[in-house]
């Protein structure tokens, strides 16, 4: 039987800088998404649903909320004696370089964790992508192709204003990666690297040690760009629904895309469920005058008013006569009677008092910081 065992490594802090206030109090990985999830749930569930039973989550800063969310990893079936979930903060071992400055640097700090694993492959992943990916298929394809590294990419239309924080790939006829460009000036449909890759563990260990000896910090720059001719890097196209979150606007749009039935069924197939922390909330209670259309509601909400085209996280309360339109209301938001909101993203535990009116615009949703009182 082919050995397709793999260990997962998740980078929780990459892309934090692009998310503005959403990452003031949390990591990219713990940004709330889709009513009851956090972004890390997708990366973690993809791994677990693909048979990966050993996952390390690399953290850098601001990781209180992430620790709280992941706990022992039980919800992902990762509370294990063998393998399971392991949180990997900086400063954790002697000889660590402290707060790391790139993926390669971070990997060098956890080299011991990787070496201890008996898996054949390593799957590395960021948390900026929302997709339901069968990594088993990717690993199988990787093994069959004879590649040393397989990069996942999707075809996506790129415009100049979203081409920051993006890596583009070019492949030759044999699907081998022949060009890697980081944050280039580009437009049109491109092969966009998803920051998810499969690597032979032995090779990764060598790359990490090599990188450390040369004081190299960046996986993309110092490995993918610099060594593409030396290492056999192949590409794997992911052609199902995918959305990349790299600023408040794309965060808003990604959430709103869940209002489409076909997207929901691609993201949440019953056989590959997205797992998340259980909070034992009561089912949603719709009141006498509730009027809810085209919205996604997580448990624990109490709805007395009107809700349209919105995503409501767990435990949101909407008062009588309140009108909520095109909003994302995170966990514990309380909207007073008669309040009116349009294009608003309310972070956790925001209180909007009775009859307040708040409006953003479709291309500029109004963000209200965690715990604010309006």
């Amino acid at each position: 039987m082919m050995d397709s065992s793999a260990i997962g490594i998740i980078f929780s802090n990459m892309h934090d800088d692009y998310m503005g206030e959403l990452t003031n109090h949390r990591t990219m990985a713990s940004i709330p998404f889709g009513g009851r999830y956090r972004l890390v749930d997708f990366a973690l569930s993809n791994m677990v649903n693909s048979g990966i039973q050993e996952v390390g989550v690399i953290t850098k800063s601001n990781y209180q909320s992430l620790m709280d969310h992941l706990g022992s990893g039980r919800e992902w079936d990762l509370a294990r004696k063998r393998g399971g979930l392991c949180l990997l903060p900086p400063y954790a071992s002697a000889g660590s370089t402290g707060v790391y400055r790139g993926r390669l640097d971070a990997l060098a700090n956890i080299i011991g964790y990787i070496q201890r694993s008996s898996a054949k492959y390593v799957v590395i992943s960021d948390c900026d992508v929302v997709a339901n990916i069968d990594l088993k298929k990717v690993i199988r394809c990787h093994a069959e192709s004879g590649a040393q590294i397989t990069l996942l990419y999707s075809q996506q239309a790129v415009t100049a204003d979203v081409s920051h924080d993006i890596t583009l790939l070019e492949m030759d006829v044999n699907n081998r990666v022949c060009d890697v460009r980081i944050n280039p000036m580009a437009s049109g449909v491109q092969n966009v690297y998803m920051d998810i890759a499969v690597i032979e563990k032995e090779l990764l260990e060598k790359i990490i040690m090599d990188g450390r000896s040369r004081n190299q910090l960046s996986f993309r720059r110092d490995v993918l760009v610099a060594q593409k001719d030396k290492i056999n890097i192949c590409a794997y196209e992911f052609d199902k629904y995918i959305v990349r979150i790299n600023n408040l606007n794309s965060y808003y749009e990604a959430n709103m895309s869940l209002l489409h039935a076909d997207i929901r069924s691609e993201l949440f197939p019953p056989l590959r469920p997205v797992r998340t922390k259980v909070r034992d909330e009561v089912p949603v209670k719709y009141g006498l005058a509730a009027k809810v259309t085209n919205s996604l509601l997580a448990d624990g909400c109490i709805i007395e008013g009107e809700v349209e085209n919105s995503i409501l996280f767990r435990g949101v309360k909407v008062g009588r006569g309140a009108k909520i339109k095109n909003c994302i209301l995170m966990q514990g938001t309380v909207i007073g009677d008669g309040a009116s909101m349009d294009y608003v993203v309310a972070d956790k535990d925001v209180t909007v008092r009775d009859t307040r009116t708040l409006m953003g615009y479709v291309t500029y949703p109004l963000y209200i910081a965690k715990g604010s009182m309006v």
Binding site: G35, D280, A289, A290, K291, V292, T293, L296, D299
Partner: protein, 399 residues
Amino acid sequence: MLLAGGQGSRLYTLTKNLAKPALPYGGKYRIIDFPLSNCVNSGIDTVGVLTQYQPLVLNEYIGSGQPWDLDRQDGGVFVLPPYQKSSGSDWYKGTANAIYQNTPFIERYDPEYVLILSGDHVYKMDYARMLEYHKERGADCTIAVLEVSMEEASRFGIMNCEPDGRVYEFEEKPKQPKSNLASMGIYIFTWKKLKEYMEADAKDSGSSNDFGKNIIPNMLAAGEKMYAYSFSGYWKDVGTIDSLWEANMDLLNPYVPLSLYDPAWKIYSRNPVMPPHYTGVNALVQNSMVTEGCVIDGEVDFSVLFAGVIIEEGAEVRDSIIMPGTVIRKGAVVEYSIVAENSVIGEGAKVGSRPEETSDKSKWGIAVIGSHIKVGDGAVIPPKAMVERDVPEQEVLAL
């Protein structure tokens, strides 16, 4: 010790494949979540669940006890079915016998007191306070009681008490009740005393080995100290179709004192892994409870929907309970009904009806569709029906 072996025969098809404590309730719970959560919230960390009738669903549901925080190194939750012994084997013959057969389990923990619960009731109660009451009075047995109306009293086991709460008489379903304090089936015994009485009871071949019929009367006759502990709050036995329906509807009534939202007294359950529920562009949902995994594009009023229920465009669901995974197709109308798990109500079908639509009230009642049933397109299911097999398209079942 949680008695969870009850068949619930008056729930007919709903308890065909599962014990009464495993019945789905309130959108995401099963009845047993209430006593289990009460235990944990009261600080009880060792719970035996006695199963007998159709234990499969219950076993699977309880599992390691993790959802209730009862996966412990020390104690935790244990499912206790009847088992074979070197000197023969017995089913649990009565409530007291079930406990008696598990004496070795109880003695492993060397307890001072034992709390006996039933897995059939919906209520929130702090057992720690009841134990406090039991200890203060140096009682041998304390029974939780609820004030019911005098008319209802003849349906219950009634405690006749001194003003200080001491019980001097117990009457099972009395025709002429002397008091309105009904036993809730919640007992605290001083373990040594209970063991004594269970041993004597086991030797009595004429006994039905039941707490209400044998142990309690015997203890009273011998003059043991028995007290009634008054409980005021919501309590509901879900033993019949009507009471199961009412108990669910009570959750929609703001005047019913059963709050599930108290963060200090959460009701825990095994949560399905499903996305938030989606309410569509054509939906109108009011006065209802809806949980994760549902997709609603029809009209829902005064109803409780469980996980993964689908209500298609133009379908109407009123005053009904729709259990997990059931699909109500386009244009179907479901009123005053309970539809069990994973069934399908076909397009344009009609299930149940409003009471005012039936002139002969004796013919009206809650319609029940069993689990994994297909009701064909256009079929008509009258009120009070009990559907246990598929119904072909356009078939009109007789009232």
